[in-house]
Each structure stands twice: as C-alpha cells, then as structure tokens.
Symmetry: C2
Subunit: 206 residues, 2 copies
Amino acid sequence: MNQSSLPSPSTRGPADHDIRDQIVAAANEHFSQYGYGKTTVSDLAKAIGFSKAYIYKFFDSKQAIGEAICTRCLAEIVAAVEQAINEEGLSSTERFRRLVKTLVTTGVNLFFNDRKLYDIAAFSASEHWPSSRGYDARIKGFVLQVVREGRELGEFERKTPLDETVDAIHLALRPFVNPLLLQYSLDVIEEAPTLTANLILRSLMP
Amino acid sequence: MNQSSLPSPSTRGPADHDIRDQIVAAANEHFSQYGYGKTTVSDLAKAIGFSKAYIYKFFDSKQAIGEAICTRCLAEIVAAVEQAINEEGLSSTERFRRLVKTLVTTGVNLFFNDRKLYDIAAFSASEHWPSSRGYDARIKGFVLQVVREGRELGEFERKTPLDETVDAIHLALRPFVNPLLLQYSLDVIEEAPTLTANLILRSLMP
C-alpha cells in the first residue's frame, strides 16, 4: 500500500511504531464502541490501560489519534482504487469505471459497515483534517491520471482544458467521495454510481 | 406561479385560506426563531395566540404546518426556475444553464439566508415529506423538458435513452437540489454549478 503522498498524522515522541500502532488499534476499537466525539483522551487512556501522559508521548491530541485512524481508513480506499485502475491492458473508459466503482464499494464498506469509522471520517471531512484533504487530493490525482491517459490515447476529448475537466469530474464524484455527502447517497447507491460514470464518460467523448 | 403538481399539505377543517395562511405565516416566524424540531404545537399555539384546538381545525399535525411552510418555500424555487427556463428565444443549452443557476441561487437564498428554512427543508428531505418529493419531481420534470426539447432541436445527442439521461442529470444536480447535500456544497458554491453544468452539457453534445 503506497501511503507516501497521504500526509502523516501529527505525532511526536519515540518513533516506536509498535506502540503507536497499538494505541491506534485500541483507540479504533474504543471509538467504534463509544463514538469519537464524546470520548476524551482520559477516557481512552483508562480504557486501553495506558496513562494519559504515555499516550501524549505518541500523539499530541485526540485529533492526532483520530487522524491516524482516519488516515489508515482512507488509505485503504486509496490503495483499493489504485490497484483497481492500474491493472494492465484496460481501456481508459474501463479504468474510469473501476475508479468510480471501487471508490463507492470500498467507501460504503469502511464508513457504514462499521458506522463509527463514518463518524471519524465525517469529523475529518467537516473539519478539513489533513487526512481528508490528502484523501481528496489522491482521488483527484487518480481522476487526472485516467483522464490524461485517455486523452493521450485519443479515447477522450481534448478540447476542454484538462484542469476544468478534472475539477468537474472530481466535483461530480463528491457525493461518493465525501462521507458527509455519501451518507445521503446511500438510498441511490445501487444505480447512482453507474449512471454518474456513464454521464461523465459521455462528457469525455471525443 | 403554477403549483398544481406540488402536493398540497395535509389540511382539514374550514377552507378559510386567510386563517390558514395566518397560521402558516406565524408558524414560519416562530420556527425561524425557535427552530422547527424543538417546537410543539402547544408552544406554537401559545406563541401565536390561537388555541391548540383551533390550530388543529386547520392542520392535523405539526408536520402538516411544516409541510405548508416547506411547500411554499420549495414552490418559490420551482417558480423561479420555471420562469428562468421558459423565457422565449433561448437555446436549450442556455435553458439548461439557467435551470442550474436559478436552482442554486434561489435555494441558497431560501435555505441559508434564513437558516431555519434550511432546518425545515432538511427535515422534509430526510423524512421524504410529500413537499420534498414533489419538489424533486418538479426539478426532474424541468430537466426532462429541457433535454427533450434540446433533442428535438438537434442540439443534444439522442443515442442515450431519454430516461437514463434525465436520471443521470437529476442525480448530478442532487448536491444543489437536496438541502441536505447543499449544506456541504456551500464551500464550492461559487464554481461548482458552472463546472457541473458544463460537464453535463458536454455529455449532451450530439
């Protein structure tokens, strides 16, 4: 999984990845049960059996822990999309369809099969955390990659400025990318991604 | 203003429009100040100086009053869009641009310049009130009208089944039509409508 261009959560103290991971895993578990919004670092420390001071050696705030959870979760979507669109021998049209489909299925699974990940992702999106902005930038990067390749192959039109096309597609995908909008797209989630992908692909026709 | 295809709020009792309008206006005022969610019909009755029983002569529940307010508010958007797209001598492309622009500017003004109308509209949308479903259907009807006309004039492509095109456009406009999504579109409201309209218009090219 390539997370290199997702910003890392704000951390400090010993670079002991095992303990940091242990805290993130325990926090994830705890937030899943009690919610992210209502839990304080003291609650969390008590629940996972570390002192508050010890947790603060690794994370400088509750948000930093939330960020770490969110970064992991969003990186899973990014990795799934990356894998889906980079398979060899696909047309750009097919890559674009896979981008939309993978984005939606992975996002719905991660945010809504475990509702509390939705809570954290929603916090992240509504407060413009780096994890959320990084995620958004990665998705936009995938759109750019697929559109640019499709243009080079003569599969997509080239008259519209590339950045306008990419911005517009990125906006059209917002209801499936941004968890705050995705929550209200669940009742159209069966048909909406395909209809939207088809509309966008028609707009890309040379 | 043609409201004939918007469902009327559930009302009963004397068909005295003046008094009904008076209640709706007073309720609108009261909800604007105290919020829709938290106010009971008793609170409302006290505040506007009618007995609860008298209010129940005209409306069978608080929701029916909320519906009446919502129907009015959404009918304003419908009327504005209708007027904007039916001006004579416009191309279908121009009609479509006006549809999107009027929808967004009227919606943003009505829902967010008076935040409490947003509250009621959000209730209506999340609980699929008839006012909200009727509004959605009217907007879809406008999309159908413009697309069909554009096809007849040879301005838009005709290969895609008409209902698929209309469904997809209606979905693409959801972030500006549905107040629940619109609240999260406010930070992109300057550029998003034009970018989206342009993308949709490219998808309609013959």
